[in-house]
């Protein structure tokens, strides 16, 4: 075991990487406005894509110095994905601070999440809490496509819909059917509907497209064999899932900057606002754009219709919301919606204003590949009970995963955390509870690594990939029995795991490695030379095996893990605070 202390420089790099990889950091990252001593905090939990916007608006509001019931207040902003917020509000907001303070204002991307929270609470015999909302801004779900690919399908004149996507995705010729064999097969980027509004809307839209309906989706529709065949066909084209669309756009942007922008994904189901951010060179909404992409994205408004993200601001009817906080929250909401200057800021970020008196204008224009007069048809948000059933149906019909979990069992994993558990114990709990997020047909293998576990090898295969239904009992027992010892043979272990997945590569599945480590490579030279591993990981244009690293604790080398994620076109996740590992692990699993 080798322990290395971070330098200030490394910390700066780490924070920089965190900013470049939205949602990948701890939920408790200090990305909030300060609360002056003695003031009442009014926390906002917002979906990631409007975090920067809300932060700026909160700073302006706080600067006014308004008092409520004689008390000063400070609106603070926390980044919480819509699905995670819905889950925590219905299951109980964590009190350990791992998700930030319980919000007074909750602003998921769509009000359908509020309906889901209330539905889940009702099922538990509890009162609804997501009742009082107003729309701050709106944005439709679109298919973001590289411009040449959209034009190959006839954009902007042609009506393009999910049925066309299915036809293209299931065509063995792939893009060759449109005279572009060099683009390979059609690849769809689509987020996990349990976490992401875009994913939820896209999933609902595919079910609608399969039925030909624009409203009134029923639970019977969700079991119709023809409908399921259509949905499975679309899901089969998915590259991988994930908890936020920003991952896809960030990966797409990196690929674009490397001159291979047409190979990562052919289309990504995203909100219209995200197209603008991408074309500005800021796909991750960091507020600091890079170079504009070589190949811009354009919006395809699906011909069967689409759903809007209506970005509600709920003032929660929850026990922790005081009268003063409620009054201040209402004032902040009015400030954002009623003040035309603030709605203009909303528009500048690429959202359509929630105040109907503010016209839709630039940057929602054809120069950005958008059409402010689209969509023609809006799909109705399914009833809450249907939405809940839809999520269940998706779990059964989504693309199957084939992954190896590569877990660090080096000696530092035996370090105690503030709960008195070791880091390894917390990681085990996260892995075990994460199993519930896989479907029985997902194939999972278990590898561990430290140093010299198997002769000269730093890794050992404990369970080869097999359907979870067949191995779950053994998997749980094996994980439970893990012990920590040795160093961190990170690179050769990662390479070996990827090679193993490549050997059994199944194009009908999501092929990936989930890498959890709390340290940095400490092999004997030249084992810790990163470049060969990066070259190896990025060597496949097709049949890509993605490595999703989880940087666990304060000593994990975020720099090198970020490079591994980027090279394999995946994403780095950070659980700097070990107490957040379970939450972060859920985010990682959302990719499968």
């Amino acid at each position: 075991m080798i322990r290395r202390h971070r330098t200030a420089l490394l910390l700066a790099i780490a924070l920089g990487l965190s900013a470049c990889t939205p949602g990948a950091g701890d939920p408790t990252d200090p990305e909030v406005t300060n609360v002056p001593s003695g003031c009442v905090e009014v926390p906002i939990a917002t979906s990631p894509e409007k975090f920067t916007l809300f932060t700026g608006l909160a700073e302006t509001f706080n600067a006014r110095g308004d008092e409520f019931a004689g008390e000063c207040v400070a609106v603070t902003v926390y980044r919480v994905s819509s699905g995670a917020g819905a889950r925590m509000l219905s299951e109980g907001w964590p009190t350990d601070g791992s998700a930030g303070p319980a919000p007074v204002i909750w602003s998921p991307a769509a009000s359908s999440w509020g309906a889901i929270v209330n539905e889940r609470l009702a099922a538990q015999g509890e009162e609804p809490i997501a009742n009082d909302f107003e729309r701050v801004m709106i944005t439709p779900l679109v298919l973001g496509m590289p411009r040449p690919m959209a034009e190959a399908l006839g954009w902007p004149e042609a009506e393009i819909g999910w049925a066309d996507i299915l036809a293209l995705a299931s065509n063995p010729e792939g893009w060759g059917a449109f005279d572009h064999p060099e683009w390979g097969e059609f690849r769809l980027g689509k987020t996990n509907p349990n976490f992401s509004t875009s994913g939820l809307s896209a999933t609902a839209a595919t079910y609608y497209a399969a039925t030909g309906k624009t409203s009134g989706l029923t639970t019977d529709d969700l079991t119709d064999p023809q409908v399921l065949e259509f949905v499975r066909g679309v899901e089969a084209a998915t590259v991988h899932y994930g908890d936020t669309t920003l991952t896809f756009l960030d990966n797409m942007y990196r690929a674009d900057q490397e001159g291979r922008g047409l190979t990562y994904a052919s289309a990504v189901a995203v909100e219209e606002v995200s197209i603008i951010a991408y074309n500005r060179g800021d796909p991750a909404d960091t507020g600091t754009p890079g170079p504009v992409p070589r190949v811009p994205l354009v919006a395809v408004y699906p011909s069967e219709g689409t759903l809007y993200s209506d970005n509600p601001a709920y003032i929660l009817d929850a026990s922790w919301v005081t009268d003063t906080a409620r009054e201040a929250a209402a004032a902040f909401r009015d400030f954002v919606i009623d003040d035309p200057a603030n709605q203009q800021r909303v528009l500048e970020f690429g959202f359509r204003p929630g105040n109907p008196a503010v016209p839709v204008g630039d940057p929602i224009n054809s120069e950005n590949g958008l059409n402010p007069n689209k969509p023609d048809v809006e799909l109705a948000v399914p009833d809450p009970a249907v939405l809940t059933a839809l999520l269940d149906s998706w779990e059964e019909n989504r693309k199957t995963a084939r992954i190896i979990m590569l877990l660090d069992v080096s000696g530092s994993m035996a370090d105690l955390t503030s709960t008195g558990d070791t880091k390894l114990e917390l990681a085990k709990q996260a892995v075990l509870s994460g199993l519930d997020s896989f479907k029985p047909a997902d194939e999972i293998g278990l590898w561990i690594f430290s140093t010299n576990l198997d002769g000269d090898n730093d890794y050992r295969e404990l369970i080869p990939p097999a359907p979870l239904a067949d191995i779950r009992e053994n998997f749980e027992a094996t994980v439970t029995g893990l012990i920590a010892d040795g160093g961190t043979g990170l690179y050769d272990s990662t390479r070996a795991a990827v090679e193993a997945v490549r050997e059994g590569f199944d194009p009908t599945k999501i092929n990936a490695v989930l890498l959890l480590t709390d340290g940095m490579c400490d092999d004997e030279p030249p084992g810790c030379d990163l470049d060969p591993l990066i070259t190896f990981l990025s060597s496949n244009e097709r049949d890509v095996v993605r490595v999703f690293p989880v940087a666990y604790g304060e000593d994990a080398d975020i720099d090198e893990l970020g490079a591994i994620a980027t090279a394999s076109r995946a994403r780095l996740y950070q659980a700097t605070n070990p107490l957040t590992i379970e939450q972060v692990f859920q985010q990682v699993i959302s990719n499968f």
């Binding site: 624009t214 409203s215 009134g216 109907p356 008196a357 023609d376 048809v377 809006e378």
Partner: protein, 308 residues
Amino acid sequence: MSGWRAGLVAIALGGVVLAMGWFLNRPDPSDPTSTTDPVAQSDLRLACSAAFSLVCDELAELNGYGRSDYSISDPIPEDAVVIGFASDLPAGATVFARSPIAIGVWAEKAPTLENECGTVTPACLVEQAGTPWSEIGGSAGWGAVRLGLSDPETGIADLEAWKLIASQNPGTDFGQFVPLRRETDGDVVTDLVLFPSRADIVVASEVAIGSQLANARGRAGRIRVYYPDPSPFLAVAAVGEGRAAANFIESLGSADSQSLLGSLGLRPLTGETTNLMQDLGTPAGEGATVTEAEKSALVTSWNSLIGN
């Protein structure tokens, strides 16, 4: 919404505004406590539902009043003048204007509907609901003909709008062609403007449609307004406590105020306004309003066909 569109109206109606400002601030010679104290005036606020958002925004802006939203189920606030339909307010509210029930159709689609139906009537809406626009000469991209309606249990305008539809005996599948449903007619029209692709047609009070006509032009296009023949007319009233409120409510009946109100989409109690909002038309006739006996049957049919 705040009254920040008032600047444009103020430019257009400068003379009327000045006259109304004097009228509202004039001293009452019969009342020794009467004052033109601007603080007393600005303490007042106007509370209105979405249907009256434009009316209230402008009146509040012009008079320096506060502004808040009002729901029919709310009690009347002590420090506010509430403007709404008379049937939705307590007895004793002062009636000062009227508004018929109307039909709003996206202007791009209206000619297609006219060609098919001759004129746009409730019967036309019920007959065409669910029909693909491409089958009646419209664009295939528009999907099927879809409506926006509000819950008749909420208020009188919502009830009257639903009566017009329900009296045409819509089929049991009618509800699936009403994807835009909100509690009030004002909310329905606001949603139509925010989400233009949510529905093609709304049935609502004229004042609710008028509140959003300018916004619609800014967001998505014109809304063409049609009137059922006959159109039920609803009385519009105001209620509030205190002298400032009484002065304000009294002022609403003046000729200058009535002219201003016409430009905001309200019609005078008698006769025709000389200053009716652009894009509003002339109802062919005045029809009977819902009776108490009809109400429960209408609510039942709504719950049966549309639900929530």
